[in-house]
């Protein structure tokens, strides 16, 4: 039976309207509702289903981030994860934390926890990097099954259906492996109130990147963050002549 590690990220809730800070250094996060990255929810759900089918022995949820990252670990625990690991990265360090750092942390923890499967969401809805799964696979030298829309467990082997451009690709890969979850892998369950209460008793280990020997010094600097361009309003013209005139004016004909 596999020991499964799932990565969960705390992001601004999908339903919140994102506002860019006036000084263009980032987006407003203070007093904004946060929740677990929806793709990570799918990853957690998949791991929990594996455990329910007795294919996984233990599930460990990992989150890198400030103190509040524990909230999403709690959500994962309420969904059925066994224990959590919170890697505390806060302040300026968190602002420049990149998938490369997270993947190194995940790789180290995998070795430490002797996990033989990693499931993460394919991307986070805040930075849309889509790199963590791939880089983690590289750091561990494990096979990767990204954008999974179906996972079938075999003995020492998994069959994964991947969503690729214009169709589905089915691959087989040996365990241990890194899997990234696509949108249609499953429908995540809702963390019920009694389960949230029970989750409070489950253990969360706290550590820092330093404890794991991972260097989280920034590799990039954010130059500026800007709103996407606003679509210009259209106009309704009275007749064809006016339309032709407008098009000529714009140099289209």
């Amino acid at each position: 039976m596999a020991r499964v590690l799932v990565g969960v990220k705390r992001v601004i809730d999908y339903a919140v309207k994102i506002r860019v800070k006036p000084d263009k250094t980032g987006v407003v996060t203070d007093g904004v509702k946060h929740s677990m990255n929806p793709f990570d929810e799918i990853a957690v759900e998949e791991a929990v289903r594996m455990k329910e089918k007795k294919l996984a022995s233990e599930i460990i949820a990992v989150s890198c981030g400030p103190t509040q990252a524990q909230d999403v670990i709690r959500t994962a625990l309420a969904m059925g994860v066994d224990k959590g690991i919170h890697v505390e990265v806060s302040g300026a360090e968190y602002e420049t934390l990149q998938p490369i750092h997270v993947s190194k942390i995940l790789a180290k923890l995998t070795e430490k926890e002797k996990a033989d499967m990693i499931i993460v969401g394919k991307q986070a809805i805040d930075d849309d990097s889509n790199q963590t799964a791939q880089m983690t696979a590289a750091a561990l030298d494990w096979p990767q099954a990204t954008f999974a829309s179906k996972i079938e467990n075999g003995d020492k082997e998994i069959t994964v259906t991947r969503e690729v451009d214009g169709g589905l690709e089915t691959i087989k890969c040996k365990l241990p492996a890194v899997i990234s979850a696509d949108l249609r892998l499953n429908e995540p369950r809702y963390a019920t109130l009694p389960n949230i209460m029970k989750a409070k008793k489950k253990p969360i280990t706290k550590m820092t990147p330093k404890d794991l020997g991972v260097d989280v010094s920034p590799r990039i600097t954010v130059v500026s963050v800007e709103d996407p361009p606003v679509r210009q309003a259209g106009a309704i013209l009275p007749d064809v002549d006016a339309l032709v005139g407008k098009l000529k004016e714009g140099g289209h004909i």
């Binding site: 999908y14 339903a15 929806p38 809805i125 969503e163 696509d182 949108l183 249609r184 429908e187 995540p188 369950r189 809702y190 019920t192 109130l193 949230i196």
Partner: protein, 80 residues
């Protein structure tokens, strides 16, 4: 579990779910409260059981609503 306890449990569950309601928590809470208060004098255990079953149905519907809303938003946003 006594019926009274069951009703309270249902109310709490619904309140918890209401936190994510699209029209806002306050909107949901006032309506939920009204719905429960309307039947506060019900004494017939059979009827109460029926109402609890209905409440449980609403819980399922809400969970599905949230799931679909999230799925559709992501699908639209990422053109998946």
């Amino acid at each position: 579990m006594s019926l009274r306890k069951e009703v309270i449990q249902l109310y709490k569950t619904l309140l918890h779910l209401g936190k994510d309601y699209p029209s806002g928590y306050e909107f949901f809470r006032t309506r939920l409260h009204k719905a429960f208060m309307k039947n506060k004098d019900e004494k017939d255990p059979e009827k109460i059981k029926k109402m609890i079953a209905h409440g449980q149905y609403i819980v399922k519907e809400l969970e599905t609503l949230y799931m679909l809303k999230k799925y559709r938003t992501l699908k639209r946003r990422y053109d998946l």
